[in-house]
């Protein structure tokens, strides 16, 4: 029944030749249906919500259920047997935990990259303009702790720039770093470009050249064998998804 409905819709659309709807009907013979569960890194919340909605619109009869959390939490949940069909992480390390456990149904594909950016309060009270400013004495800087991915990236760019940082705080998540900046507690912090984009007017982003030394790559993989999971992975790595991701600040892999 689910198979026939899109076909019937297509026939009706073809019959009404004068009418050209905004959305192209799904190709006749599209056999996709059912529900998949996608586990995605928290930083993908906005983009994957859009991608899932677009995917469902393209394939009527399908439902994409999303579960967002930190990459390491998700990896732990999947290895403990959580019912995920697709897994998208913010780093390769946590992806490796799942593939290493033999839980992936395919080879992970990189679909986005993310780089660090300096975030400051909108009025930039400390007058920060470069990465070197974060290391100067009068600037209260907050970064991620080295144990978490954004902190590892921070350590990498600092090493590249030859700077040594004495942060006021080493937070355990990007959200906590952003919180300290939006509240004005800190003068500057290092977060991802996409985080600055999401925060909107609450923070000001300052690009810096050294960010290229720590590019975070986002891989995605199907966890279960199924046409729908494979189709979603294909969609997320395709050009339509690329536009959505780019709008959010993600780079191409």
């Amino acid at each position: 029944m689910n198979v026939r409905l899109p076909a019937a819709a297509a026939l009706i659309a073809l019959g009404l030749t004068a009418c050209s709807g905004p959305a192209a009907p799904a190709p006749v013979g599209d056999a996709l249906s059912g529900t998949i569960v996608v586990y995605a890194a928290a930083s993908l919340t906005a983009t994957f919500t859009t991608l899932a909605a677009d995917f469902e619109a393209d394939h009527p009869g399908t439902t994409v259920t999303l579960n967002f959390a930190g990459s390491s939490d998700l990896a732990t949940q999947i290895t403990e047997g959580a019912p995920a069909d697709v897994f998208a992480t913010a780093d390769k390390k946590n992806m490796a935990k799942v593939t290493g456990a033999g839980l992936a149904a395919g080879t992970p594909m990189d679909f986005a990259t993310n780089t660090l950016e300096i975030a400051v309060p909108p009025d930039n009270p400390a007058g920060v303009t470069s990465l070197a400013d974060l290391a100067s004495a009068g600037v209260t800087t907050v970064v991620c702790a080295p144990q978490v991915p954004c902190g590892a990236a921070t350590a990498a760019v600092m090493a590249t720039a030859g700077l040594s940082l004495t942060p006021a705080s080493e937070e355990s998540s990007v959200t906590d770093v952003l919180g300290k900046i939006t509240s004005g507690e800190a003068d500057a912090g290092l977060v991802y470009v996409t985080d600055v984009r999401t925060a909107g007017d609450a923070v000001l982003g300052i690009e810096f050249p050294e960010s290229s030394s720590a590019v975070n790559t986002y891989p995605i993989v199907a966890v279960t064998d199924g046409a729908l999971a494979a189709a979603f992975v294909e969609y997320a790595t395709g050009s339509a998804a690329r536009d959505v991701l780019a709008a959010a600040g993600f780079g191409a892999p």
Partner: protein, 250 residues
């Protein structure tokens, strides 16, 4: 019994997960010791602050009556039921660099942000209700009759407070302080939101556990066990305290 299982099983589960072979090295690593030491120091300071601020508050609630007293009591107890992260945000907007008190304090050269002082404030905020509740309850139970006797024997109010009221509620004061200490030691949300997380400065034991979880779950489990043991000891001590209180006045 199901209720007991719900409480006991997770404790058993975490004990089962402990990597005993490396337990001592895990809890004596530099970062663990720094977190433990900071946690103990800030919790002791927070407990002292709880006693200093909580005793007058409990006395006010138990021994006087004024308009809005019930509202004040409800507000004082609020941190008990408030998500700690909300408490952290509230503290941020009060004592933060741009906060109601934080901004003027900063003008005076006092910067609370990212300092152990911020940790102590967060801990005191969430822990004080334990002391106030415990003490106010005891003050109401003891009643005012002994205080009246003291006054008619010629003792001025400060003498009555020192020689009658406080000794009578001492067991409750101690157990309230111990509970406050335990709550301060375990405080996570408000500290994370308000004080930040830096080894040796603001990263207390729960924050260290939260961070270690990312890279070294074994260390996180080992440190969790330390907190569980501290909690068990404190609950045991508190209950024994209650028992002796009943024995003395009963």
């Amino acid at each position: 019994m199901v209720g007991a299982a719900l409480v006991v099983l997770p404790l058993v589960a975490i004990v089962a997960r402990v990597d005993w072979a490396h337990f001592v090295p895990l809890i004596t690593s530099e970062s663990s010791l720094a977190a433990l030491s900071l946690g103990l120091r800030t919790s002791l300071a927070a407990t002292a602050l709880c006693v200093l601020l909580g005793v007058p508050l409990a006395l006010t609630l138990a021994r006087t009556s004024f308009r809005g007293q019930r509202i004040l009591r409800a507000l004082v107890l609020l941190p008990l039921v408030l998500p700690p992260v909300v408490g952290g945000l509230a503290l941020l907007y009060t004592f933060g660099r741009r906060g109601m008190l934080g901004a003027p304090l900063r003008e005076l050269g006092v910067d609370i942000a990212f300092s152990p002082t911020a940790v102590v404030l967060a801990q005191t905020f969430v822990a004080m209700p334990f002391l106030v509740v415990s003490l106010e309850g005891a003050l109401r139970t003891v009643g005012t009759r002994y205080e009246a006797v003291g006054a008619t024997l010629g003792a001025r109010p400060t003498t009555v407070l020192r020689r009658v009221t406080l000794p009578l509620v001492l067991p409750a004061l101690v157990s309230g302080a111990v509970l406050s200490f335990a709550r301060a030691l375990g405080e996570f949300g408000a500290t994370l939101t308000f004080a930040g997380s830096l080894q040796g400065t603001t990263r207390t034991l729960p924050l260290e556990i939260y961070l270690q979880r990312e890279t070294d779950p074994d260390a996180a489990v080992a440190l969790s066990l330390v907190l569980v043991v501290v909690a068990v000891v404190i609950v045991a001590v508190t209950y024994r305290g209650r028992g002796s209180l009943m024995g003395r006045t009963g």
